[in-house]
Amino acid sequence: MALLEVAHLNVGYASVRGSVRAVRDVSFSLDRDEVLGVVGESGSGKSTLAHALMGYRMRGTSMLEGDVTFDGIPLLRSPATELRKIWGGRIAMVHQNPLASLTPTMRVGEQIAETIRQHRNATAAEARSAVAACLRAVELPEGSDIARRYPHQLSGGQRQRITIAIALALEPDLMILDEPTTNLDATTEAVILDLLEDIRSRTRMAMVYISHNLGVIARVATRVAVMYAGEIVETGSVSQIYTAPVHSYTRALLESLPRPGNSKPKAAVLSGEPVLAAMSIRKSFGRRRATVRAVRGVSLHVPRGAVVGLVGESGSGKSTLLRCIAGLERPESGTIQYSGCDLPPNLADRGKDMLRTMQMVFQDPESTLNPSLSIGTSLRRHLIALKATDGVTARRSVDEALRRVRLDTAFRGRLPRELSGGEKQRVAIARAFLSAPDLVLCDEPLSSLDVSVQAAVCRLLLDLQRDYGTSYVFVSHDLAIVRYMSDRIVVMYLGEVVEEGDAESFDRRPLHPYTEALFSATPIPDPEAATARVRLKSQISDADRERPGCIFNARCHRRKGAECSEIAPPWRDTGGRRYRCHWSPAELAAQQGNEAASAARG
């Protein structure tokens, strides 16, 4: 008999705008030793399903119908006392945001022990050894003081390990994971996914893994369920879903994903004087002892009509660099040349002409538009400030701008809250293009959007770029998207550029060890894909910024020797591509070749 049997599950909420059915007639079964990946976009009812699977009534639930049978127990008809024994003991859950699911005022070791004591009579010594076993299971260093720390003293990856340790504490039969790696950096995500795979092969535990990321699902799941508008539209084995999807939504979802090696149609030959040349930009935050050097002497060249992709994990300084160029932050040192003229660091000193030719698209679609102004007013204000026009012309230009981003002109009268995230981002793009700029700075414009919307906005940005001959600096943490969008790629790590070059050359192979790790960490939506496994052990740390030598040496998997931590590595040029490392290209190629060979043998 299956471990978990779900039949005709319906879940509804009461909201101020009426009742919402978030899960509609969902049925499936899950065997022991299976991992069901549930994939869907935001609002598709994934999280609601996760809670309903535990028999948990979330606040505001107005309807919870159907059957959820766990190991013969009807969860939806069990009394609360019965459920409390099952929760944590036999079914465990891991949430998206570990900072919210851990108690901030309690040491993390105690939080694991608490779960154990809740379900079993354990002496202090037994609890202690059980906690140590849990920490071992999630590969946190034993004997360190991790158990005695508070959640805020841990990194994001360590926190998520603790929540997984709590879930594992009582060796449950089923673990439900709700977007457990969504808030983590790509390299940390890869390590956590490895850990989950490892735990599963050891314990034969069943899992329900919920994610919006098809690449992640391809890595962890044995079976996939695709959710759309509260319904499961397709289920099947991993290979079936990824190679022969039946439902049109699944197909569209898969087609919207950039894969490694995918790229936009090639742009025209890039030559001539660069539209933007930033030289040795430096920027620190904080005062005296608590200074964080966010950008440490970065130079950036943007050829006219090109897309330069800036990629790196959080804390790499890519957004700060962008804001320095835009004039939103004042760099400590460095010069910016724009179309051959010096660009003053202060926004107030830049004339209307300069402002008009450089515009920006922001990351968060929720705050990019003023919530109290209609779309038309927002755009009109922007236009009139940049170009002195009369009301009639302004209105016509606004309509045209909306059509350009493929929105109906009726959007003029709407308020931002009536728009979806993708529509808001389109309006923000329309706003940036109102003054026909030469350069648009894109600060992670896609990261807050759903996959299918990402694809559409991505295409729109490329179309506009082609039509206007605009240049972009495109910031993202997603290497696949940057590869797809860009002509040139710049890889940043802790405020320094570690590698840059033509986008195509990145297809052949990564050079810098950090780029290699980023490539390897990017989940690929293809279950058959074989990638070299490069995993960074330690966490990104601000202390690394202050050391001499290579900025990456503390986490590097190809550390050469003492020179890495003492001597700043030289730039190595390989024709159209350059990187900073003590290893030469030939030495790196030899190492990568050996590893590939031994992987093939093993």
């Binding site: 909201s15 101020v16 705008r17 009426g18 009742s19 919402v20 059915r21 978030a22 869907g40 976009e41 935001s42 609002g43 598709s44 009812g45 959710m227 759309y228 508008a229 509260g230 939504y249 197909r251 569209a252 979802l253 898969l254 087609e255 919207s256 994903l257 950039p258 995918n262 835009a326 939103l328 926004l347 107030a348 830049r350 209307k352 402002l355 450089m358 920006m360 922001f362 990351q363 968060d364 705050s367 990019t368 538009l369 003023n370 919530p371 109290s372 204000r381 922007h382 400030a385 940049l386 809250r417 979806s420 993708g422 923000a428 706003r431 299918s452 919307v453 694809a455 559409a456 991505c458």
Partner: protein, 290 residues
């Protein structure tokens, strides 16, 4: 990344829309406040007696058909004085609140948005002013300027500036680095236009609530100052002053104290309730956006 994509994202449809609902929590206090405002407008013309005439009846006469609220120690009609007094107190507290909350909010918005040394200076000054009790501060100002209606408005307005500045500052702080603010900066907008054209409309609902709360407090302050003799000067009918004048014989004739006190109490409660209802309707609206 080329394929077509299903029309809309997988959003869950709503089963039924919500209609606009009037709630009694909002309607009742609003109606009470409206009655007071009406009294303030027409009180003088509907009052049965002159508010300042002595001996409209026997002194300290209990409430009766001829004198609804009785008479005070000089034989003045309490009902007429309460009706006429409404205009004084409403005018004074409205203008003091407008002045104080307006100036305070403007200060707080600018200080919160600009940050840095400006913010630091303004907020430390605010801290100093907040260390003094409001009533004491108002009395200090009134004793140095001399009691008059204008000075009363100025004093109470001044007392309100620091608190309102704090509220407005805290409302504007989380919005400082929003995308629309930065977009405005990138089109060359200066701080006055960002603060008053972009940010003010967003925080206005919060400031309206603050206005209502301050208004209720102004009513109390003016009555207290009147009671203490710093406020409106006799013979102008003022609720606080009336309580003060009649307090000596409250044991034998409670009505000249009771009715102005009730008038103050009901208005203060109504205005507070209105502010409360506004706050929760604001929260409800926010919930709908989420």
């Amino acid at each position: 990344m080329t394929g077509p994509v299903a029309s809309a994202a997988g959003h869950v449809a709503l089963d039924k829309p919500e209609g606009r609902r009037w709630r009694w929590q909002m309607v009742v206090p609003a109606a009470v406040v409206a009655v007071y405002l009406l009294t303030g407008l027409v009180g003088e013309s509907v009052a049965p007696y002159s508010a300042t005439d002595f001996n409209t009846g026997p002194p300290l006469a209990p409430p009766s058909e001829t004198h609804l609220f009785g008479t005070d120690g000089f034989g003045r009609d309490v009902f007429s004085r309460v009706l006429v007094g409404a205009r004084t107190i409403l005018l004074l507290s409205l203008s003091a609140t407008l002045l104080g909350v307006g100036a305070g909010c403007a200060l707080g918005l600018v200080s919160g948005y600009r940050g840095g040394a400006v913010d630091e200076t303004v907020m430390r000054l605010v801290d100093v002013l907040l260390a003094l009790p409001g009533l004491l501060l108002a009395m200090l100002i009134l004793t140095s300027l001399g009691p008059s209606s204008l000075n009363l408005v100025l004093a109470i307005g001044f007392v309100f500036v620091p608190k309102s500045a704090r509220i407005a500052r805290s409302a504007v702080l989380p919005l400082r680095n929003a995308g629309y603010v930065e977009a405005a900066r990138l089109r060359g907008a200066g701080w006055p236009s960002i603060v008053f054209a972009e940010l003010l409309p967003i925080v206005l609902p919060q400031l309206v609530v603050e206005f209502c709360l301050r208004f209720a407090y102004a009513l109390l302050l003016i009555s207290s100052l009147g009671f203490l003799g710093f406020g409106v000067q006799p013979p102008t009918p003022d609720w606080g002053l009336m309580i003060s004048e009649a307090r000596n014989y409250v044991t034998i004739a409670p009505w000249p104290v009771l009715f102005p006190a009730l008038a103050i109490g009901i208005l203060v409660v109504a205005v507070n309730a209105l502010a409360d209802a506004l706050t929760s309707s604001g929260e409800r609206r926010v919930e709908q956006y989420l």
